[in-house]
Amino acid sequence: MHYVIIGNSTAAVGCIEGIRQADRAGRITVIAAEPWHTYSRPLISYLLQGKVNEEQMKYRPDDFYRANGCETLLGHGVEAIDPAAKKLRLRGGRVVAYDRLLAATGSRPWTPPLEGLDSVPHKFTFMSLDDAHALAAALEPGGKRVFILGAGLIGLKCAEGLSGRVQSLTVADLAPRILPSILDEEGSAIVREHIEARGVVFHLGQSVARFDGNKAVLTSGATVEFDLLVLAVGVRPNTDLVREAGGRVERGIVTDARGQTTLPDVYSAGDCVESWDITAGESRVLAVLPGAYRQGECAGLNMAGGDKEIKDAFPLNAIGFFGLHLVTAGSYAGEDYMRRSGQNYKRLVYADDRLKGFILIGAVERSGIYAALIRRQTPLSSIDFELIKEKPQLMAFSRQERARQLGGRV
C-alpha cells in the first residue's frame, strides 16, 4: 500500500498519525510545495513578534517523518492528479503513483481587484513562513508605516506581530466591525478598543477606492500613507487539483463524513474542504486548525482500511490579542444569554433545546464544557442550564452523567 499526501501542514500530519494507528507498514510519501519541516501556520505572527523561534514553530519533532516511516518530497508542487491511472504529475514532470491519496492542499490568500494595486511597491500576504520572513525583512531598518487591508484573524494577528516593530499600524476593512466572521458587534467593539489602545488605527466599513504607490484612498475619501501593505482580505480553498481531476467542488472540496472525495481512493482534509456545520445546518469551509487535524486523522484511518466518520463539526476559534483572550464557537442564530462586565463578555446562543454557539471574551476558563454541549448536541433540558449559563461547570450535569464522565472510561 502506498499512501501519498499532498500537503505538509495540520491535515497532513493528522493523516499520517491516522494511517499509522491502523497500518504501521504501508509506505507514506508526503509531497508539498513548501520545503520546510512541518510547522504551525498560526505561529507566524508569534515569530514576527519574537515570541517563538523556528524550532518552537515545528508542529512535530525533528524525527517525525522518520519515526512514522514517511518519505518526503518537500519543495515539490503537484500539477495534476490522474485518478484513473492513480498517478500524480509533479512540477518538472516527475510522476508519482499512489494507492490512496490525500489532497490536503489548504488555502491561499485572496484579494479582490483593487485599482492601482500594481503601483504599490511593497506588498505582502500573511499565511506562510515565507510570508513572515519577507515581511520581517522589509521591516528593517525600522520606522515603517504598515497598512493592513483586512481586520479578520490573519490581519489582526499580523498587526499584533508587527506591533512595537513599526512606526504605525493602520487596518481597514469593508465590514463595519473587526473579526466579523467570529464576533458580534458588542464583542467586536470590546476587542477593537483593546487593540486601539495599543496604537492600531482602524478604518472600518471602508474599502480602498484606489492605490497610488504608497498611498491608499479609501471609499470614505480618507487617505492612508504607508511603506508596507499587507493584504489580508480573505482566503480561498485550493480546490483546483481535485476539480481538474473531476472531483466535486462546491464552496470547498466535497467529501463524505469519512473524508473521501467523489473520486475513488482520493481523500481530502483541512482548509480546502467544506464540511457540514452542525450549528449552521449547512456545508461550509470551516478552516479551523482543530478541524483540519481531525479531518486528516479521520481520512488517514479510512485510507488505511478503517471506518471512521466525523459528524460533529462546527467552527471553534481560540485567539488572543495583546493579552486579551477570546473563544468563539458555532453560529449565532437563536435566543441569547448575555453578560458583560468590563472587558469580560459572554454570549450564549441557543435554539431548539440545544446550545448553538457562544462568544467569550476575557474570562474563557473551562469554555470547553460549553463546546462539548454543542459537539454532543446535549438537550439543555437534560442539564441545569441556569447554572451552566453562569459559568461552565460539570455540576450542571446529572449525578449519573458526572459519574460517567469522571469515573468512567473516556
Binding site: 493528522g14 504551525s40 498560526p42 505561529l43 508569534y46 515570541k51 517563538v52 518552537q56 514553530m57 515545528k58 508542529y59 512535530r60 519533532p61 486548525l289 482543530p290 487535524y293 481531525r294 486523522e297 471553534l316 476559534n317 481560540a318 485567539i319 488572543g320 483572550h325 473563544v327 464557537a329 474563557v364 476558563e365 473551562r366 469554555s367 470547553g368 464544557i369 463546546a371 462539548a372 459537539r375 447554572l387 461552565p392 461547570q393 460539570l394 455540576m395 449525578r399 458526572r402 459519574a403 464522565q405 469522571l406 469515573g407 468512567g408 472510561r409 473516556v410
Partner: protein, 142 residues
C-alpha cells in the same frame, strides 16, 4: 493505563487534593513553606454546591481533543499520558476550548497547565490521590 477516577459520593469537599497538587508542583520540599500565604493554582479543582462536591482534573482521554486541536504541537500523547511542553505553548487556549471537562487552564508562568499524573515532578504517584483522606480520588486501571 492507570488513570485517576473520582467518586463524588466520598468527596468531603476538603480541598486537600488541590493543596497536595499545588505542593507537588511547587518544586519545594516543605509543604508549609510551599503553601503558606500563597494563592494556589492546582491542576485538580473542586466543584462544590450545596452538599455536592467533586474533584475534576485531566482524564487523559483516549481521543484527546486538546492534543488534536493544539496549534503548536505543545500537547502530545506519550504512552497514553497527555503531556504539555510549556516551551512550545503560545497560550492560544484552543485546548481550554477543546477540553470537555474544563481540566486545562492557564498557568501562572504563561503557558497552560494540566495534570500530568505527577510524572514530571518526581513524585511518581499522583499527589492528590495520596492526599485524599476519603479515597474519593483513586488511581487505578479500569
Amino acid at each position: 493505563m492507570k488513570r485517576i477516577y473520582v467518586n463524588e459520593k466520598w468527596c468531603l469537599g476538603c480541598h486537600l487534593c488541590e493543596y497536595y497538587c499545588a505542593f507537588a508542583n511547587s518544586g519545594q520540599d516543605d509543604m508549609a513553606k510551599a503553601l503558606k500565604d500563597v494563592v494556589i493554582h492546582p491542576r485538580i479543582r473542586i466543584e462544590e454546591q450545596d452538599n455536592i462536591s467533586f474533584a475534576v482534573n485531566c482524564r487523559h482521554c483516549e481521543e484527546p481533543l486538546c492534543v488534536k486541536g493544539c496549534i503548536s504541537g505543545a500537547l502530545s500523547v506519550q504512552d497514553g499520558l497527555i503531556l504539555i511542553d510549556p516551551d512550545k505553548c503560545v497560550s492560544c487556549y484552543t485546548c481550554v476550548l477543546s477540553c470537555p471537562y474544563g481540566a486545562i487552564m492557564p498557568s501562572e508562568a504563561g503557558a497552560i497547565q494540566k495534570c500530568e499524573l505527577c510524572t514530571k515532578n518526581g513524585r511518581g504517584q499522583p499527589a492528590c490521590v495520596e492526599g485524599c483522606p476519603n479515597m474519593a480520588i483513586v488511581f487505578e486501571e479500569r
